[in-house]
Symmetry: C2
Subunit: 343 residues, 2 copies
DNA sequence: CTGTTAGCGCTTTCAG
DNA sequence: CTGAAAGCGCTAACAG
């Protein structure tokens, strides 16, 4: 029923390979002939069958994205950046979300086998070695966003610096007891210690040390997830400490928002009783007046998409990894005045 | 290089169709034979080539989702619901975002031709007739989420009722001048008047009428988009009215958030000087303490995904459309007291 | 129950 | 510059 390349060839009085040529290379075909073919295509309303083309070319014109948590606004923002780029590049975008670690296993397992996408972008974690090897074997380039991994192309920010400027800001305001909440300290796989949360903690500790303040492990808490709920729970732990912090630096805005909610529920005034700084600068942050360390999330996605795309096309990319700039965005949650000024 | 069905057949000493059978139907093959085939598959590490299978079966095992605005948290929530269902169903999910109307045209155009997905879910708008026809011709089922369209399967809520209860709530609190902000009145295509925003307005007007309050067109404003920024602009218009409203009902939480921001920037206290109610109950709503009309967003996505999936499998679904329940969620933005009680 | 054979629709040598 | 023909790897009649 549907019109095929044969129909076009017949209508144009040429062979199918000629039709194929005008459809693709567009080289080595006489102008007059091409014209006839084009007309036939138009007349018949011919559209090439993508499935056949895919089989023949052994690709799918698709980039896959694996999100660790779909519910995380940060990841959605990165996804948006990816979407914008890939749609412009004429690539389809398929998304894989893996809430659990088990699911991650099976997902990566499947992905690395049946060519469901020509390239993959992984957000906020790094795949185990065996998967990486498999992707390589199948020539499926993988790039990571929001995670620095020397083994493969990654787009990331300097998280140590981020943790540093956030903490420094609090320090400059006069705070000396500063809490830190991160998602998790232990890497979720054996890949090494480049977890953003852990790096931000390094920056946090460095700033503390520089200020001559001893690092107090009791002041850092794990939330487990980048969620308001978990952030609130972690805040609860920190704030019920006998000598509670006067400021909290959270590894993500979502956690920070949870901190704010918890603090307020306890009658604490922000920034009067507690200063808060987050990380990411998701959309809610500005609504909440949250001081935070901005990451260029969309840019991160865009870059990642650009890199995989070029890699997919077999291009030899020179600088595959990239570090993007961050910036402290000062809003209300730290107060306009220093602690001393606030009295 | 990669191992094919032929290799397996040879290794197992059977024909390729037998291998194909154990891979698929799994019927009509002797246990002993199947066992041999399975062993060969295992031994060779054989994985069926999806592209070949797709071409042969003429499908792609993929459901597509077209979002009108990726930046809209409501749509992302629906998308999450879809993702959860389709991943469980073993279907890939590809997303298409169309920020502009032009892009919508070309997107739908392409989608309806080359089989890039076996089924489509459209969020928050309805495709023009000519596209619908084309999808039908190509046997690609389409279902709509967040939009009631009698022509095709749709998952939606009773927006008139939603507008009604929101307004009624405000009325019960003693407000008599209630503003309404919606995205846009005019449908963006010629499909008819089922735009959620317009329906919510009907409910709004009905509640007003019931309360014996004359509808004042000056009290409704269009924001154009479901964004905080646009919501703030619309609020500006309403609030600078000579006889400004004491309450505003917004067609979405994002708009409502913008209203809150604008009001506060003008020194207005919420709910003291202005009551606000939104629509959707996105995650930010609870953080902001926003009273709103909750829509089951994830459920909406789940249902839509379930329907397309069944339709894709050729199942004759009886009740393809569905209306989901809504619910007024009362939080702080309207105040715990009535207007009179607040004095 | 199982093997043979003919496609699915396009790309791509390889001759001409 | 152009056509014939050989796949790409799998599914699905159709004979046995």
């Amino acid at each position: 029923m549907p019109v095929t390349i044969y129909d076009v060839a017949k209508a144009a009085g040429v062979g199918i390979s000629t039709v194929s040529r005008v459809l693709n290379d567009n080289t080595n075909v006489r102008a007059e002939t091409r014209h006839r073919v084009l007309e036939a295509i138009e007349a018949l309303g011919y559209k090439p069958n993508i499935l056949a083309r895919n089989l023949s070319r052994n690709h799918v014109q698709t980039v896959g994205v694996v999100l660790s948590y779909f519910t995380n606004p940060f990841q959605v923002a990165v996804l948006q950046g990816i979407e914008r780029f890939s749609s412009q590049a004429g690539l389809d975008l398929t998304i894989f979300s893996m809430e659990s670690l088990k699911r991650r296993e099976t997902l990566l397992e499947n992905l690395s086998h049946g060519r469901r996408c020509d390239g993959l972008i992984v957000i906020s974690f790094t795949p185990e070695d065996r998967f990486l090897q498999r992707f390589q074997r199948y020539h499926i380039p993988v790039v990571i966003a929001d995670f620095a991994d020397e083994r493969i192309p990654s787009i990331y920010v300097d998280n140590v610096a981020g943790g540093y400027i956030a903490t420094k800001h609090l320090l400059d305001l006069g705070h000396t007891r500063i809490g830190y909440i991160l998602d998790h300290i232990e890497p979720q796989n054996g890949s090494g210690g480049n977890e953003p949360g852990a790096d931000r903690q390094k920056g946090y500790q460095r700033a503390l040390t520089e200020a001559g303040i001893a690092f107090d492990p009791k002041l850092v808490s794990e939330s487990g997830l980048h969620s308001r709920e978990r952030g609130a729970i972690a805040a609860h732990r920190l704030l019920n400490h006998p000598n509670p912090p006067s400021a909290i630096f959270a590894a993500s805005d979502m956690i920070a928002l949870g901190v704010m909610e918890y603090a307020r529920s306890q009658g604490l005034h922000i920034p009067g009783d507690l200063a808060v700084v987050g990380f990411d600068d998701i959309e809610l942050a500005s609504f909440a007046g949250l001081t935070t360390v901005r990451q260029p999330m969309q840019e991160m996605g865009r870059h990642a998409a650009e890199i995989v795309t070029r890699l997919m096309q077999g291009e030899k990319v020179l600088r595959t990894s990239r570090q993007l700039p961050i910036e402290l965005v000062i809003r209300e949650t730290c107060g306009a005045l220093t602690l001393a000024e606030r009295g």
